[in-house]
Symmetry: C2
Subunit: 209 residues, 2 copies
């Protein structure tokens, strides 16, 4: 089916949101763990984490407008300077999804969703114990996107925990070995199966297509 | 295995790049199609497309530093104001990967990689005929990321082609029905299998975990 700009504008509100959230393809699923200055924890699911560069090792994520609604994740990141990214595996995908519910301010999504905090000495933000692939990041910068008042929040990787069975030669990973999931839209979760690994592409080594 | 910041810094250059490119989880795979003002086409694989908002329908992608190296994709977007995003399916994942080779300036990646241009009237950028899920975008803005001199390039969705068999009720999509692929790092491709669709999360409808 072909949708013109007018067709897209005429879709029912919720259908439009789901569709536009889905058309960019599969998205990563990360739980962002943070703590307030007083130690109250927060956990939130994000599908907008994007690789920005390897040296320094920078990752970003898109924060929705924070001028109107309290965004604990962002407030905590600014307060403590650190946050964690935790991969989501098939065995706790439902619990991860429900961290997106709007719980009362005093409730931690960890407790509400049956997930557990884990800490590393000297690092103020909580990791997710159930997650086998965990990153600790230090906040670097916020870049406003005036077009729709979202923000690109950037952190630098400070530490990484990666199970040995996921690691392959040369720094490649096979995410399917820990049953990592992906997301399309805001509701549809996918299992992953590694099907190919191609070499760095050189014009003089082009296969016959 | 646990990597401290010092451990990450000491990794061999190529291993470090692969690892840091992989740790954010599964990434979408899109071919970005563009044409120069004189109609010369370009096709490039990107794994950094990110959803920015639904109203207006904005998608962004990360462009590596364009001050040193010619980036045809970006030059063409600025010249014509439009670009296309095309999903990659399992049957042409290898051809898509090789669009990343550094071909001579006068070579179009379409021809070099055995992919075919398709056009829509009134839209200057080429779609990929082999792709079943195609988006036409109008360039909106470039946002510099001074930390590592990358750029967030933002476009607004002007049109979308989505096969009927991918569409589900309420605007949800099942990307596995067109054999969409995902990527980790820069070399590892994954097939997708939809395993769950959860409702919008409300605290009062929390399942028992």
């Amino acid at each position: 089916m072909y949708y013109s700009k007018a067709d897209l504008a005429q879709l029912e509100h919720r259908e439009r949101i789901n569709l536009i959230n889905s058309v960019s393809g599969i998205k990563p699923v990360n739980l962002i763990g943070t703590a307030s200055a007083s130690g109250a924890t927060n956990l939130a699911i994000f599908s907008s984490v994007v690789h920005l560069g390897s040296n320094p090792a920078l990752l970003g994520f898109i924060l929705r407008p924070h001028q109107e609604v309290r965004r604990h994740t962002y407030e905590n990141i600014l307060a403590t300077g650190v946050f964690t990214l935790n991969h989501v595996h098939r065995d706790f995908v439902q619990r991860a999804h429900y961290t997106s519910a709007k719980f009362p301010d005093e409730v931690s999504e960890f407790a509400a969703c049956g997930l557990h905090e884990a800490y590393r000495e000297g690092f103020a933000a909580p990791f997710v114990r159930e997650s086998q692939l965990q990153l600790g990041l230090r906040y670097r910068e916020s870049i406003p996107i005036p077009l729709n008042r979202t923000t690109l929040v950037i952190g630098e990787v400070e530490n990484a925990t990666i199970p040995d069975r996921v690691r392959e030669e040369g720094g490649h990973l096979d995410l399917s070995r820990v049953d990592d999931v992906g997301l399309s839209g805001m509701n549809s979760y996918y299992a992953l199966e590694k099907i190919a690994q191609f070499p760095y592409a050189r014009p003089e080594e082009l296969p016959l297509f």
